[in-house]
């Protein structure tokens, strides 16, 4: 077993890609500019060195053609190979939603279970670095809504490594959503696969539960420090995968804290947080002492200027306010 190392997220993902392509000879990766941009690892470095190790036959730069690529990898997956397609920004996946939603997500079902679809679509979402309205959306709710898709939202370098390994092994089409403002987050990586559908307790506490992903998870951890100074100990749960999801972890935590806050960067209204709140209210109403509170992105496109971008994404202070509201 490899020892644990401190790595930034992109290096953890890069290590996972190397290990996946070694483990599965039928895997290959493709995407726009994945070997020719920057240091030869695509826009954020994740595919660096793969072409040198695995050859141009398994590491392919593609034309800017999301529509055919998403359809093609969907079909290729049903023919005995394991494609890992990088979509440079998740916003661009809209150009090929037929391939993801009408084809890949439904192939197993429509054809009565005949076809496996071991496909990974790696892409990034989220805001925070000034990429504005068409490069900053958080689309995890949209994908999680589609039957047949698995949706992964790693919140640490260790999870980025471990969840990508699991995504590559899965026989379902998996949307793997990296966060563009977390590629340089550093943390321990133990080089072990992380199973889908098992939430992680990111911090233990007894007064309120926060369920949050990615950037909002980070803000929640910061908020927890401030709340602790006031004597409020929050428990923080990182779902890791939005489908499959781990409501039992939420119920268990709420059983202890009796208060729930759900936070995400995706637009709050109709967002996945509403689903987590609804399920908790339906299944664990007796465990709640107060109404749950949602924190999420504003119902606006993501603006460019830093002051504007910060205004539409939940902040540490919004999370603190939400915790205090449910505890009031």
């Amino acid at each position: 077993m490899a020892e644990t190392k401190d790595l930034v997220t992109w290096r953890a993902l890069n290590a996972a890609m190397h290990d996946i392509m070694t483990e599965f000879p039928e895997s290959f990766t493709l995407g726009e500019d994945i070997t020719t941009w920057g240091t030869g690892g695509g826009t954020y470095g994740v595919t660096r060195g793969l072409k040198k190790t695995f050859g141009a036959e398994r590491v392919l730069d593609t034309p800017i053609s999301e529509e055919v690529l998403l359809a093609a990898v969907s079909a290729a997956a049903t023919r005995g190979v394991r494609p890992i397609l990088e979509i440079m920004y998740s916003d661009f996946s809209f150009l090929g939603f037929d391939g993801i939603i009408n084809q890949a997500a439904k192939a197993r079902y429509m054809f009565g279970g005949q076809f496996d679809t071991p496909l990974v679509i790696r892409t990034n979402g989220g805001s925070g670095i000034g990429k504005a309205a068409q490069h900053s959306q958080s689309l995890e709710t949209l994908f999680a809504h589609i039957p047949g898709l698995e949706v992964v939202v790693p919140g640490t370098p260790g999870d980025a490594y471990g969840l990508l390994r699991t995504a590559a092994k899965s026989d379902n089409p998996t949307i793997f959503l990296e966060h563009k403002n977390m590629y340089y987050d550093k943390g321990p990586v133990d080089f072990q696969p992380v199973p889908f559908g098992q939430a992680r307790i990111a911090r233990e506490g007894q007064h309120a539960t926060i369920v949050a992903t990615q950037q909002i998870l980070n803000y929640s951890l910061a908020a927890a420090e401030e709340l602790a100074a006031e004597g409020i100990e929050v428990e923080i749960i990182d779902p890791r995968t939005l489908y499959p999801f781990d409501m039992d972890a939420v119920y268990a935590s709420v059983g202890k804290t009796r208060h729930l806050v759900v936070g995400h960067e995706a637009v709050r209204d109709y967002g996945w947080g509403a689903e987590f709140v609804a399920q908790t209210v339906e299944a664990a109403w007796d465990k709640l002492d107060a109404a749950p509170v949602r924190v999420g992105g504003a119902r606006t496109p993501i603006p460019y200027a830093q002051t504007l971008e910060a205004a539409v994404i939940p902040s540490k202070d919004d999370i603190i306010a939400a915790v205090k509201k449910t505890l009031a």
Binding site: E26, F28, E57, R58, L60, T62, P63, S65, E67, V68, L69, L70, A71, A72, V73, S74, A75, A76, A77, T78, R79, G80, V81, P83, D98, G99, N102, Q103, A107, R108, Y109, M110, F111, G112, G113, Q114, F115, D116, P147, G148, E150, S170, D171, N172, F196, P244
Partner: protein, 324 residues
């Protein structure tokens, strides 16, 4: 690969075309009877393309079909009874009744599905060809699509991708002249659709889709090119559908005369006349043989009618891989 000669496989092709036509002829009747839900899209008149292309393929090759895909599926080797059962939404259908007419997939013979999204098969066949390239095997993929689908944007991306990567894919454009009810002349400014392939570096050929021999020869050449690593081919095949877009079509967009005129060029009748002239079969022998084929289709229909409907619990299976 089987070598087609007018004398030997011509007869096999004739039989398959006649059997498929009889199968498809029953679709509107079954629809009227209320046994087919939703939409069903017969392809009477277009059989020579499905059969001619399939004669050039093996079970290892893949096809991506259209909403009008019964003939493609059957010609590729699907069982008539199980295909009919799927169209009737029965448990013995290839997809256990989950797919129906527009979503029939048969993994073991490389049928990657008839498809409810016009043009989607273009990307899917490109992907199947990509899988062949990655695996280093010799399997070829065929995309069937119509003149209507040729206006989908995915066509441009697929042609380019297949051409730069020399993917073993054959794009078979069935020009039946109507996109649902819209005439091709109204929907494209450049009537020579093969120019779309040429523009992307895809060798492109026009052919008579009502002539089995010609379809087979064009398909065989394209398959050989694909297996040799020379990349994609576009075949633009002229054809015509005798029935409406789907069961229940009022067909106000065309005249009865136009349809009757097209039938004079019928691929089955033309081939039969040739085979009789060549002394391969007599009219009497064909009549007897045809009756046997029709009896097989009747058996397929009875199999489908007798197949049970799927249990409601099956609605919730196959969404995700087992154990996931």
């Amino acid at each position: 690969m089987a070598q087609y000669t007018a004398a030997e496989q011509g007869l096999a092709g004739l039989e398959l075309m006649a059997k498929i036509r009889e199968f498809e002829r029953r679709m509107p009747l079954l629809s009227d009877e209320g046994l087919i839900r939703g939409s069903t899209h017969p392809s009477l008149g277009m059989e020579a393309i499905a059969v001619g292309v399939s004669l050039a393929l093996t079970d290892e090759d893949a096809i991506a079909s259209t909403h009008r895909g019964h003939a493609h599926t059957l010609a590729k080797g699907a069982d008539f009874g199980r295909t009919m059962a799927e169209i009737l939404g029965r448990a013995d259908g290839y997809c256990g009744g989950k797919g129906g007419s527009m979503h029939i997939g048969v993994k073991e013979i490389g049928v990657l599905g008839t498809n409810g999204i016009v043009g989607a098969g273009i990307g899917i066949a490109t992907g199947a060809a990509l899988a062949s390239k990655i695996k280093g095997d010799k399997a070829v993929a065929v995309s069937y699509f119509g003149d209507g689908a040729s206006n989908q944007g995915v066509l441009a991306e697929a042609f380019n991708l297949a051409a730069i990567w020399k993917l073993p894919v054959i794009f078979v454009l069935e020009n039946n002249h109507y996109a649902q009810s819209s005439a091709v002349e109204e929907m494209v400014a450049q009537p020579d659709l093969s120019k779309r392939g040429e523009a992307y570096g895809v060798p492109s050929f026009n052919g008579d889709g009502m002539n089995l021999q010609e379809v087979f020869e064009l398909a065989t050449a394209a398959v050989e090119r694909a297996r040799a690593g020379e990349g994609p081919t576009l075949l633009v095949l002229e054809t015509y559908r005798y029935l409406g877009h789907m069961a229940g079509d009022t067909e106000i967009y065309r005249t009865k005369d136009e349809v009757e005129q097209a039938k004079e060029n019928d691929p089955i009748e033309k081939l039969l006349a040739q085979l009789i002239e060549q002394g391969v079969i007599t009219a009497e022998q064909w009549e007897a043989r045809r009756n046997e084929l029709f009896a097989e289709v009747e058996e397929a229909e009875q199999f489908a009618r007798n197949s049970p409907f799927p249990e409601a619990a099956e609605a919730f299976t196959d969404v995700y891989a087992k154990g996931a």
